[in-house]
């Protein structure tokens, strides 16, 4: 569309700017939480995440090392160290009392009383010298500094091990993998029958599948929970696998049938003429050719089961053995509402896998969406 006559260059700029604004609006929320997940609690509560990307200006009050750390250097007694305690930063000014906390430039020497002198370098190293031995409390040093952005992985360490997210991650995997694979096979056979076999009632069945596509899950919860409880699988993984398979089937059948109908008729008929049974045709011809549709549905079902909260809450318990990540995240939102470092890190652990799948398989996802909704 770049070369359309009448497209003015000012309009091209407007398009670029508008797109950039839209993209920014859409990614900023996620980036905000992502950045916060790498900051410690003090940083999160004292400054907005958008400041963390820039060097932070701080005023530090530092008490020089104790008198017993002093050593003798020629005629002088010396206490030295670093005002940042190794955390890094750059001193822009320092002072020796609260009235003039920025009286001296880094590298200068300040005179305290009784011949005590203090020098602070820009890297934070300080050196306190005196003609006589230090006694009692050491003097305070007032430092204005610029410290570089600082990030930590501690939040992730904490949520994975102390908050039980590692276990929840395994639980989510346990739910997701079978719940993705089982419906594919069942749906593939059904889709083949609906696409390529002639039998009375076929049109009705297809209509039923289309209708079931939109049945709200809420309908199914109470009756199925009672049924599962009667069968003794009320709070078992097998129950949630079956539930997810059942709920995913209409979309699976619909997507796969639409795809299979589009496969060339000649291939299937020539295979029939050659004496292949339906079972062979399905296994050796249809299934391999339908790979794109299978992949599309697999991604849908994976994202849906991984991100699901409702079905897991109803069909699984909330003990550590069965609590999935979305459930845990919700519990954390309730119990640790203000502890954003925990929430942010947990949220990112739970959305990392879907995001990876999303970016790696976007092509199939888009294809599936198009097949599933455009008619």
């Amino acid at each position: 569309m770049d070369n359309i006559a009448g497209t003015k260059s000012s309009l091209v700029w407007a398009v670029h700017l508008a797109t950039a604004a839209l993209v920014l609006l859409w990614v900023l929320p996620t980036i905000g939480l992502l950045v916060s997940s790498f900051r410690d609690r003090d940083q999160i509560t004292t400054s907005g995440w958008w400041r963390s990307l820039f060097p932070a200006e701080q005023n530090i009050v530092y008490r020089a090392g104790d008198a017993d750390t002093q050593r003798q250097d020629g005629p002088l007694w010396v206490i030295d160290g670093n005002v940042f305690d190794g955390a890094g930063g750059e001193v822009t000014a320092f002072g020796v009392n609260s009235r003039a906390p920025a009286a001296f430039a880094p590298g200068a020497e300040a005179d305290l009383k009784d011949g005590v002198k203090l020098a602070v370098q820009s890297n934070g190293d300080y050196r306190l010298t005196a003609p006589a031995q230090f006694e009692g409390r050491s003097p305070r040093i007032f430092v204005s500094s610029v410290s570089p952005p600082r990030f930590t992985l501690d939040n992730y360490r904490r949520v994975m091990f102390a908050e039980g997210l590692g276990r929840a991650f395994l639980n989510t995997m346990t739910v997701t993998i079978p719940a993705t694979i089982i419906p594919i096979l069942i749906a593939a056979f059904a889709a083949y029958a609906l696409a390529w076999m002639e039998f009375p009632g076929r049109a009705l069945l297809i209509a039923a599948v289309v209708g079931l596509l939109v049945v709200p899950l809420q309908m199914a919860l109470i009756p199925l929970l009672k049924l599962h409880n009667q069968l003794g699988i009320g709070k078992e993984y097998i129950g949630i696998w079956l539930a997810h398979s059942g709920f995913g089937l209409p979309l699976a059948i619909y997507l796969l049938r639409n795809y299979m109908v589009g496969l060339p008729r000649e291939i299937i008929e020539s295979a029939r003429v050659d004496g292949a049974t339906d079972f062979q045709i399905f296994l050796k011809i249809i299934l391999p050719l339908s790979f794109p549709a299978l992949a599309s549905f697999a991604i849908f079902q994976f994202l849906w089961t991984w991100n699901d909260l409702l079905v897991a809450t109803v069909f699984l318990g909330n003990n550590p053995d069965q609590l999935v990540m979305t459930g845990l995240l919700r519990e954390l939102m309730g119990s640790k509402g203000g502890e954003w470092e925990i929430l942010a890190a947990s949220a990112f652990v739970s959305i990392a896998v879907p995001l990876i799948v999303f970016f790696a398989m976007q092509k199939y996802l888009v294809r599936g969406l198009l097949a599933g909704s455009v008619k």
């Binding site: 770049d2 006559a5 009448g6 497209t7 091209v12 508008a18 797109t19 839209l22 859409w26 990614v27 996620t30 939480l33 004292t46 995997m173 346990t174 079978p178 096979l185 069942i186 059904a190 029958a193 076999m197 039998f199 076929r202 209509a207 599948v209 289309v210 209708g211 079931l212 939109v214 049945v215 709200p216 809420q218 199914a220 109470i222 009672k226 049924l227 993984y237 079956l242 539930a243 059942g246 059948i253 339906d278 994202l303 991100n307 909260l309 809450t313 995240l329 919700r330 939102m333 942010a344 949220a347 959305i351 879907p354 995001l355 799948v357 999303f358 976007q362 969406l369 198009l370 008619k375």
Partner: protein
């Protein structure tokens, strides 16, 4: 770990079981009605009548148990008391119409239905139109599409952080309050302020669904015949006119599909409300109300009635979809 092994084992058993079922049932059919010998013709015809049902059986069974059976049982429960034992006639229905929380949920659901599909489709259309014109459009698309992969609960955490409120002279760390304060406002507790808080929740769903609308509409825009656009250019139409008068009218069908798909999602919206406000401060919606009565109220009768209302609201779309699908098959 042992759990994953169990899951792996289940996959193997499940997959193997499925394949074994299909293979064995076919084998049995072929042995009972061999396609050779004296009755070959009759046998083949009969087997061809039975075979589709062998292929369909597991799917039909699962669909029947997990999606059809519950509809009927829910209707049955809706006429029974909280434990599902005693018949109470229309009590649950009359409770429903007089319940203030239900009216609040209905009002909110209708608001959601008006705002979210419209806003998502609108932003999706704009995003599709913009990204199709520039070279880095695919990157932009991926970024706007990305929230689709994020769970509703994850999205709730992301947005709750934006709406965060500190107050008491502390630094505002929520983006919305930070912007609001820098514009000279007082920090607000956005999620408890009626009636704006419902819109704060809607924004989350709009943020998620816009990418979906964009992807579908972008494909539709690309499918528009070049000639119509070229003719408009020759007639001197401006790019905006081309978009509004030539392109959009040609994709009304797709816009309707996107709209209804998002409408269905909206009717079922649950996680966002549960995680962000739990229906407090006037933000209750039907799906969360149903969940409330199911788990906290422990009342299958009332929960079923609410579920039926959701089902009822979906039904027109269901019928419309079925009619479209049948039209297309002919």
């Amino acid at each position: 770990m042992e759990q994953l092994l169990m899951a792996g084992g289940t996959i193997v058993i499940g997959v193997f079981g499925c394949v074994a079922y299909f293979f064995l049932s076919n084998l049995i059919l072929d042995t009972l009605l061999p396609p050779r010998g004296a009755d070959a013709g009759r046998n083949i015809a009969r087997a061809a009548q039975i075979r589709p049902w062998l292929f369909l059986m597991p799917a039909v069974l699962l669909l029947a148990v997990y999606l059809v059976y519950p509809v009927f049982v829910s209707v049955w429960y809706s006429f029974h008391d909280s434990s599902g034992q005693t018949y109470v006639g229309f009590d649950n229905y009359s409770w429903l119409v007089s319940d203030s929380k239900f009216r609040e949920s209905m009002r909110n659901n209708i608001l959601w239905l008006l705002v979210v599909p419209a806003a998502s489709t609108f932003f999706g259309l704009i995003a599709a139109a913009l990204t199709d014109r520039i070279r880095w459009g695919n990157f932009a698309k991926a970024m706007i599409f990305m929230p689709m992969a994020i769970s509703f609960v994850g999205a709730s955490v992301i947005w709750k952080f934006i709406y965060d409120y500190r107050g008491d002279g502390q630094t505002e760390i929520g983006m919305l309050n930070a912007i609001w304060v820098s514009l000279g406002g007082q920090p607000q507790t956005w999620l408890t302020l009626e009636p704006g808080n419902s819109f704060m929740l809607m924004i989350v769903l709009i943020w998620i669904q816009t990418g979906f609308a964009m992807v579908i509409l972008s494909a539709a825009l690309r499918g528009i015949p070049e000639e119509t656009v070229e003719a408009a250019i020759l007639d001197g139409a401006s790019p905006l006119q081309i978009f509004a008068r030539i392109k959009v009218p040609q994709i009304w069908g797709t816009i309707a599909v996107v709209w209804t798909t998002i409408t269905i999602t909206v009717l079922k919206v649950f996680d966002i409300v549960l995680a962000m406000t739990n229906g407090q401060w006037g933000t209750q919606v039907l799906a969360n109300l149903m969940f409330d009565w199911m788990f906290r109220g422990n009342d299958t009768g009332r929960a079923s009635v609410v579920a039926l209302v959701i089902m009822l609201m979906v039904t027109p779309i269901m019928i419309w979809n079925i009619r479209n699908a049948r039209k297309e098959m002919r």
